[in-house]
C-alpha cells in the first residue's frame, strides 16, 4: 500500500512551534492594545461626575463581555465583508481580541480603582491634590497590586482565546495543529502536543505573576 499521507516528523513540531510564536504575538498585541482600551473604560466607569461616560463604558462592557468571542471574530471577518468591508485576516482577528480584552480588563481596572478606600482619596484631596494627581500618585500604586492576579487570570484566558482565530483560517497554534493533523493523521499526538505548548505558554505566566505578587505585597 502506497503512503497517502506524510509521516509525523520533527518538521511538524517546528511548524507547531512557529505557530505558537504567532499565538504569542497575537496575544501580546491584543493584551497591550486592549489594556489601553481597558484603562479608558476603567477611568470612565469610575468617573463620579460625568454620568454619560459611565453609561457608555458600561454599555461597551456588557456588549463585548456578553457575546461570544467567536461571534465577534465571525462578524468582524464575514459580517463586515457582506457590507463590502473585507478586512485582512490579521485585522479581523485582532480587533475583536482587543475589544474583548478592553471589556474584561476594563472591569478589572474598575474593580482595582474602586477597591481603594475613600479615605485615600480624601487624604490626597486634603493636601491640595487634583483628581488626576490622586489617581496617579495614590490610587494607581495600590490598585495595580490588586489588579495583578485577575489580570494574569484573564491573560491565560486570552492565550486560549486566540485559538478562536481558526474560524477565519488565520494560522495560529490551533489552526496549525489542525493542518498538521490533516496531513499526518496523527490527530491525538498532534493535539496533545498543541495542548502542551499552550500549557508551556501559560504556566510561566502564572509563575511570574505569583512572584510579582509576592514582591509587591510587602507593606500592604
Amino acid at each position: 500500500m502506497p503512503e497517502i499521507f506524510i509521516a509525523f516528523s520533527y518538521k511538524d513540531v517546528l511548524y507547531l512551534l512557529q505557530a505558537a510564536l504567532v499565538t504569542i504575538a497575537l496575544c501580546a498585541m491584543a493584551f497591550s492594545c486592549g489594556l489601553v482600551v481597558a484603562l479608558a473604560i476603567g477611568l470612565m466607569r469610575t468617573a463620579r461626575r460625568v454620568r454619560v461616560l459611565r453609561f457608555v463604558a458600561a454599555a461597551y462592557v456588557e456588549v463585548f463581555r456578553g457575546t461570544p468571542l467567536l461571534m465577534q471574530i465571525f462578524i468582524a471577518y464575514f459580517g463586515l465583508s457582506i457590507i463590502g468591508l473585507q478586512l485582512p485576516k490579521f485585522v479581523a482577528v485582532s480587533i475583536p481580541l482587543i475589544l474583548f480584552t478592553g471589556a474584561f480588563m476594563g472591569e478589572i481596572v474598575r474593580a482595582g480603582i474602586e477597591a481603594i478606600p475613600r479615605g485615600q482619596w480624601e487624604a490626597g484631596w486634603s493636601l491640595g491634590m487634583s483628581y488626576g494627581q490622586v489617581m496617579r500618585w495614590v490610587v494607581v500604586p495600590t490598585a495595580v497590586r490588586i489588579m495583578i492576579p485577575p489580570s494574569v487570570g484573564f491573560l491565560v484566558q486570552l492565550v486560549k482565546g486566540t485559538s478562536l482565530a481558526y474560524v477565519v483560517g488565520y494560522v495560529e497554534l490551533t489552526r496549525a495543529g489542525y493542518i498538521v493533523s490533516q496531513a499526518t493523521y496523527a490527530t491525538m499526538l498532534v493535539f496533545t502536543l498543541v495542548g502542551l505548548i499552550y500549557f508551556g505558554i501559560n504556566y510561566p505566566l502564572s509563575l511570574a505573576s505569583q512572584r510579582l505578587e509576592a514582591r509587591l505585597k510587602r507593606h500592604a
Binding site: 478606600p117 479615605g119 485615600q120 480624601e122 487624604a123 490626597g124 484631596w125 486634603s126 493636601l127 491640595g128 491634590m129 487634583s130 494627581q133 500618585w137 495614590v138 500604586p141 495600590t142 497590586r145 510587602r218 507593606h219 500592604a220
Partner: protein, 240 residues
C-alpha cells in the same frame, strides 16, 4: 481666620447641620465636642470642602470655600486635615508620605521637599522612622506621620477629626503631646475630640454641638465647670 455663616448641610433628606455659625481667630485653639452623630465631624469636612454645603458660607482667611470649584484645592493647601483613620499612603515610606504633596502640589525640587519632610518628622519625634512604611509603624506613630504630612504644607489652619479615637489608649498621649506643642507654637486649630483632658488643657474655647446646632460655646473653664445647656450637662456627666 475661619468663619462659618449659617451653614446648612443635608445628606439626602437628613438635615445634619442646621445653621452653624462660628468664628476662629488666628492662633486660637477651638475644641468641638458633642455626641456621635451630632455633626461635629461634618463641620470640619465642610470647612475642607470634602463635603459640599447647601446653604450658608464658609470663609477661610476671607476666601470662600466652594467644594465644587477648582479653587478649593488652593484652600486645601492652606488647611491641614488629620483624619481619625490616619489615611497614610500604604506604599510610601513615612518620608515619602510627607514629601509627596510637596513635590507634586507645591512643585518643590526633591531635595528641598525631602528636607522639609525630615524636619516635620523630627518635630513629631519620628526622625528614626523616615524609611518605615505605614504597616511597620504603631497607630500613634502613623497618626504622627499624618500630622507631619499636613504640617509640611505649612497650613494656616489645622483641622483634627477625632484623631485619637482609633488609637490604643497607651498611644493617645504621644499624639496629644504633638498637638499640644503645635497649639503652644501658635497654630490655629479646630479639634473635634472626645479627649476632655486635652480640651481642658489646650483649648481656648469649646463648642458643644448638639443635633446639628451649636448648643453652647464659651471659654473652656466655663463650659466644663458651669455648663448652662441641659444637653451639655448630661453629656459632660456621661463622659467624666
Amino acid at each position: 481666620m475661619l468663619k462659618l455663616e449659617n451653614v446648612h448641610k443635608w445628606f439626602g433628606s437628613l438635615h445634619v447641620l442646621k445653621g452653624i455659625s462660628m468664628e476662629v481667630a488666628r492662633g486660637e485653639v477651638v475644641v468641638v465636642i458633642g455626641r456621635s452623630g451630632s455633626g461635629k465631624s461634618t463641620i470640619l469636612r465642610c470647612v475642607n470642602g470634602l463635603e459640599p454645603i447647601q446653604q450658608g458660607r464658609i470663609l477661610v482667611d476671607g476666601d470662600l470655600v466652594d467644594a465644587h470649584s477648582r479653587h478649593v484645592r488652593k484652600i486645601r493647601e492652606e488647611v491641614g486635615f488629620v483624619f481619625q483613620s490616619f489615611n497614610l499612603f500604604p506604599y510610601y515610606t513615612a518620608l515619602e508620605n510627607v514629601s509627596l504633596a510637596l513635590k507634586i502640589v507645591k512643585k518643590l525640587p526633591p531635595d528641598q521637599a525631602r528636607g522639609i519632610a525630615e524636619e516635620m518628622l523630627r518635630r513629631v519625634g519620628l526622625s528614626d522612622k523616615l524609611a518605615a512604611y505605614p504597616d511597620q509603624l504603631s497607630g500613634g506613630q502613623q497618626q504622627r506621620v499624618a500630622i507631619a504630612r499636613a504640617l509640611a504644607m505649612s497650613p494656616k489652619l489645622m483641622l483634627f477629626d477625632e484623631v485619637t479615637s482609633a488609637l490604643d489608649p497607651e498611644l493617645v498621649g504621644e499624639v496629644l503631646k504633638v498637638m499640644q506643642d503645635l497649639a503652644e507654637g501658635g497654630m490655629t486649630m479646630v479639634v473635634v475630640t472626645h479627649e476632655m483632658g486635652f480640651a481642658r488643657a489646650v483649648a481656648d474655647r469649646v463648642l458643644f454641638v448638639h443635633e446639628g446646632q451649636i448648643a453652647e460655646e464659651g471659654p473652656t473653664e466655663q463650659i466644663f465647670s458651669a455648663p448652662r445647656n441641659e444637653n451639655l450637662r448630661s453629656f459632660i456627666q456621661s463622659i467624666l
